[in-house]
Amino acid sequence: MSSWLDYTINGLIVGNVYALVAVGLALIFGVSRLINFSQGSIYLVGAYIGWVAVVKLQTPLPVTIVLVATLAGMVGLIVERFGLRPLQNSVRIAPLLATIGISFVLDQIVMLIFSPNPRALPSQLPDVRFQVGGGTIGPLDLLIAAVGVTSALLLFLFLRYSKLGWAVRATAQDRDAAMQMGVDVNRVNQAVFGIAAALGGVSGMLVGMYYNQIDTAMSLQATLKGVVAEVVGGAGSVPGAVAGGLLLGLVESYGVALFGTSYRNLFAFLLLISVLVLRPNGLFVSARQAPPEPLTGTFVAPSRPVRLPPWALLIAFAVFALLPLFPVSSYVLQTLINAWLFGMLALSLTLVAGTVGQVSLGHAALLAIGAYTSALLSLSLSFPVGIAIICGGLMSAALGTLLISPSFRLRGHYVSIATLAIGEIVSLVILNWESVTHGPIGVVGIPPLSLFGYELVGAPSVYWFSFVVMVLLALLQVRLLASHIGRSFRAIRDDDVAARAYGLSLNRYKSLAFIFGGFAAGVSGGIAAHLYSYINHETFNTQQSILALTIVILGGLGNVAGAIVGSVALVGLPEVFRIAAEYRILIYGMVLLLLVRFRPQGLLGTI
């Protein structure tokens, strides 16, 4: 039974680490209602600055901490000033995407400077261990706890009793009113970002020392777990963030104790979803709050969509349809095949995120469901491939909608977080549900694409197949958008309160959007499975979800032609610029940032 004490202690220790990241997130959310997806990158930057200080400059610990805090804080100030402040009056979705873009850019810069190899970050504290329960803790555990508690306490006092702290709280409550009262809102934002970044940087350094290891993969993990902790604790509440972090650590620890290590992350994300569904305000924040102020302003950037003349569309169709007849290398065809498959995913996402306003960050999960369904049906039950793919689409529509439905009651950034978590959960279930999915071994020997008994070998036939399927789905989507359902989708996106007042059931139409979109994505996943002949839980991942989102933004949210154009651009161009391979993700990040800043309506405009 003493093991339970050990599990508890371990949970608290890990929870400590999560709390550190969560506090920074809570601070920023409290002021600007923004989930800062780049917090993990600042954490990473702090760790590497710490490495330079400790290993290269050999500074003593207090100096190291001050150095890291200062430099990381400056990075935070720069991010706020140039990455986020220009978006102040922009549409609601802009800052969310901007922080994602910033995280790409920061992560890649670190990787380019320091190389992707993990490195050791020695702690400069004496190597003493204290016996606690069955295990031991060391000075670093205590330091991390101390930093966590102290910063939470200091922040609490700062917000309560200092002038700038009051300004921060006023801005958090009502930005416009605060401005009218003479609060320099820009300075407040800056201060908050600086503090959060300094804290984030120091956290990264301490955790790096704790594990004696830093590498560029730290960033995403930190962001994910930090967001979970913050949302669970209560978005915007600093004490809530600490409590949420500790709770997350405990839940993971007990989950491992009861079910085994591979269920660890599953528990984390299930905790998140449960909290979002049952108590979206968070566990440690009062649930009794005034109803939200009516939200004015639109969600997407209002714009006049670029109307492509029908003759231009016909020409483009003809060119792409006839392309394989020309002496084009199969490499170009393969690239375009990828573009068509991504195009289907983008069609699905532009419908859901653009037309209906549900910015899903876990859309790759729909690919996975479709892929596995199609693969397993054609392998185990000998379904003809064409039928299997359609079944993949239907399963994705049904199961995908069912899984995403808990997020229907959520609004704004919470939808994105929930869908991100659901995406991760699907991936983890695929990994663990071995009797069906073969777990990490994956599904091998998936039959190749075939239609009515004829195998589609060779790039041209696969090209035509995927092109035709994509065009059909696009045409169906255009028809859907022109119908009363399309009108209803857009009304819900623009103002769901008014939409409800006129009889539009949000659940019904969001479900329809995901059913249609799920079908498109599932078909895409199914085709991919038969194309690759081997899939496992890593084949369809979060990076693709983010790429799909970038494509959709580039093309114009809700814009069908834009989804296809964006897909060709963002899938095709990197192939053209293979030389710039190391910079590819950096370029994605910059593209996202520039789009969001200068042309949020995308190339072809939102619809």
Binding site: P118, G135, T261, G442, Y532
Partner: protein, 385 residues
Amino acid sequence: MSNIDRRSLVKGSFAAIVAGAMVSRTALADASEPILLGVSGPLTGPNAQYGAQWKQGFDLALDEIHAAGGINGRKLAYNFEDSQSDPRQSVAIAQKFVSDPRIVMELGDFSSPASMAASPIYQRAGLVQFGFTNSHPDFTKGGDFMWSTSVSQADEQPLLALYAVRHLGLKKLAVLHQNTDWGRTSRDYFVNAAKGYGADVVITEGYIADDRDFRSTLVRVRDANPDGLILISYYSDGALIARQARQVGLKQTICAASSVYSPKFLELGGEAVEDVHLGTRYFPQDPRPEVRKFIDGFKAKYGGQEPDAFNAYAYDAMNMAAAVLRIGGTDRRAIRDAFAKVHDVPMVIFGSATFDVESRRIKGAMNAELVIRKGQFTLWDGKPT
């Protein structure tokens, strides 16, 4: 001569020039252009570090190959395309390689999904796909153009089991492994072999490679009362586990698979990895001439840095490719046939390598039993820890 007008003359000369250029290109290609290999692997993304290690191994091998006169007088070069170990990209790269007539063989990819997704393309087009770190047992079943020098876990894990159970005398084992296709397959082979040697596997725990925190896992392990921990890990996660095992109060012997063999394991693990046992294919003081050549060459080229497992796989792969090309020339089909003909190629991993034509793999990897003493990899002297 009568009906030839200027237009057709121009057209005709143009065609002749182009044809001439193409002919001379291939003719020139034979003489002064290097033989080109295509490499599909991660230069960016989560596995970028391994791609970088590949390059180190390749470049070292190439230096030696050229110093020895190249391939029948011609130089050898590789074209490394970044797949990020993503099947989407490895498939596109495969199309690119097969349509480029200069590419005679492909090396890679890093992970099994990326490799196996591309196999149908290589097989149909008739370009050898030579894998050397993708360890899925079904990789070579993709077709007769799929060849692999990655050590089959069916060979490696029994060696580790022998070390742990018979030589170290461990009877109750806790196995921690990465929850990937490689980790799983390895775990299954290890458990079978260990049981065969009479040991009891009291607990196995699969973890996600990116995990940092293993303390709770280790409490579970502790409660199962093992007398030894087996790590089927890469060096970063291996180091983390070793450190945290000591922090949680586990004092059992740790025995790890060769995948932790890297100077990084020592750097990241620090004191915690002292006395960790591991089975590897080679070690720093390995007297074999091919190993000495490799280690000394690596240190000379890379500023004293010690090589690790992935450097060695890549180095060996390049050398094997060179050996195959010497026999098979530059025709893609002949190269495939040459894989079956090549024999006794000196390799760090296998000693003297010959392909088993049935499985298109190499059997009989070298084995050394090491232990970490005073922060160095040393040959185990047979004494208990």
